[in-house]
């Protein structure tokens, strides 16, 4: 890399504005979201009635069971329940 003057450094600082905070927070919550998903899948494997209820109406069942649907990737959960 060549040396840069102050103007070029300023341009390069400008080139990396912050990502929207909500996007960053969602990505930071990934491990927790994954853990929640694993818990639900494990419970569904152990409890067939729960699994059937999830397949019949995923969002309503999650809400009824006290899970926050917005904190879980519903598409991924559907995929894992179907596999």
């Amino acid at each position: 890399m060549t040396a840069y003057d102050e103007q070029r450094l300023a341009e390069l600082i400008k080139a990396l504005p912050p990502a929207p905070q909500a996007w960053v927070e969602a990505a930071q919550e990934l491990p927790l979201a994954r853990e929640r998903l694993d818990d639900i899948v494990a419970r569904a494997e152990a409890d067939l009635a729960f699994r059937d209820a999830l397949i019949a109406d995923l969002e309503a069942t999650l809400e009824l069971e006290g899970y926050e649907p917005g904190a879980i990737s519903l598409d991924e959960l559907r995929r894992r329940l179907e596999s």
Binding site: L9, L16, P18, A19, P20, Q28
Partner: protein
Amino acid sequence: MQLASLPDAQLVARCRGGDEDAWRELVARFSRYVFAICSQAFRLRAEDSEEVFQEVFARTYQHLARLRDDEAIRPWIGQLTRRLCIDHIRSSSREEIVDPDTLPGGVDEAMTTLDDAFAVREAMAELTENCREILDRFFARDESYQTIGAALEIPSGTIASRISRCLARLREIFEGRNPAPGPSS
């Protein structure tokens, strides 16, 4: 050592060990880079950028255990983002999405600029917190002197001279980290 000052390889190792704070730091460290590739190099619309952004970090998390070189996490994330942007464009039938081959200056040039920008950002870590904040707020966040002065509790009339001093200091740090090639013998 604070997480923010951990080298990439050590941060990756901590993430792999299940350290959630390390993962948060990893996302924070690379979020601007991923965002800029989506929105500047590929000029994706906001909703498309968000989709790629989340997918990049989901795949990074999934692949942590299989990374071949922890030190190379930044180029790995860069290539992953690039590939996912291209996949996204190809899988979309929307005409208004830009074809990467027709971007002015090209994606490769934009990626090179963003790699340089990331190196500058790393050099900024060696500045004082005050300098780092001033430069980031003025250039990256596009804040006014007045806003910066109020946030940092410094007279707004001194911001311009502080920016100038901080940029000069950043140049010293940056040149120390990236010495210009000397004359060939």
